[in-house]
């Protein structure tokens, strides 16, 4: 059997480029991106990841939905949004400041001190406090929802939520997330 002559590097590149073009042409027209985030934690340190991701998505023009469930509801609860705390007990990652062993974390004032420090570091980076961040997201066109079941459990009504947030059931959230990407925090 006669071996085919070896292809030059340039020829291989050309073939690859043509293949990519062919695949790209066969794909359906790019649908606009959509992102759904489930925010389930209510501590100060875990409040920022979903907020930052939601904002980054809006900055890039991506349709954004955030579903606040369980303790995550505190972030859109008018009375609680600016009073979130850092928990030091059972939190193994207290750096960059310092590590607090779980036993010491139980000492009164430890959580308050860590919270105070984290608020200061967040402000240094020019990230707004949670309440202001929520306003920013609403102004940026992100859709914010309170989880209906969690609200019933905590005896909350729409009036307890920040203006602009809606109440939604888990199944409705599934419907509106269809075709998009979902992140759970």
């Amino acid at each position: 059997m006669v071996k085919a002559p070896l292809k030059t590097k340039a020829a291989v590149k050309q073939t690859a480029k043509a293949a990519i073009k062919k695949v790209a042409a066969s794909l359906p027209a790019k649908a606009p991106r959509k992102l759904s985030i489930i925010a389930s934690k209510g501590s100060l340190d875990m409040a920022y990841p979903p907020l930052i991701l939601a904002n980054a998505a809006r900055m890039s023009g991506i349709e954004t939905h955030v579903f606040f469930t369980f303790w995550g509801l505190d972030m859109i609860n008018k009375k609680k949004m600016n009073k979130l705390n850092v928990s030091v007990v059972g939190n193994p990652s207290m750096h960059p400041w310092f590590h607090i062993p779980t036993l010491l974390g139980a000492i009164p004032g430890m959580s308050a001190a860590a919270t105070w420090m984290m608020r200061r570091e967040i402000a240094k980076l020019d990230f707004p406090p949670v309440g202001e961040f929520i306003e920013l997201l609403l102004d940026a066109g992100a859709h914010l929802y309170g989880c209906k079941m969690s609200m019933d459990m905590m005896k909350l009504t729409t009036a307890d939520l920040v203006d602009g947030a809606e109440v939604l059931g888990a199944m409705e959230f599934m419907d509106l997330s269809e075709g998009g990407q979902i992140i759970f925090v």
């Binding site: 809006r58 900055m59 023009g61 020019d126 920013l136 940026a140």
Partner: protein
């Protein structure tokens, strides 16, 4: 079609390669290519972005813009539908902003 855009280089995403080659005419032409009609409010943002770049060497993020001009977040998103961070930088001839907020 001969256009001011032919005299400068763009990266694959449509951002100007060298921000220093930017002029107002190029800004207008990029806007046209993006299907936008610029008004005075767009120019408030674009002029600020250029000024911010001169001072900091990078593109401003939406928060930089809303904190330092009278443009609110709401208005910014109305002016630049489809992502104010990238679009404002693109029109101002700057690179994509890297800041997270």
């Amino acid at each position: 079609m001969s256009s001011v855009l032919e005299k400068v280089k763009f990266d694959p995403e449509g951002f100007l390669v060298d921000p220093m080659t930017w002029t107002r005419e190029i800004g207008e032409a990029i806007a046209k290519r993006e299907g936008m009609q610029l008004n005075a409010r767009h120019w408030v943002v674009i002029n600020f972005a250029r000024e911010y770049f001169t001072q900091n060497g990078e593109s401003p993020t939406p928060r930089n813009i809303t904190k330092n001009t009278d443009v609110t977040t709401k208005e910014l998103y109305e002016l630049f539908p489809g992502g104010p961070a990238k679009l404002a930088a693109k029109l101002a001839g700057l690179h994509k902003p890297t800041g997270c907020i």
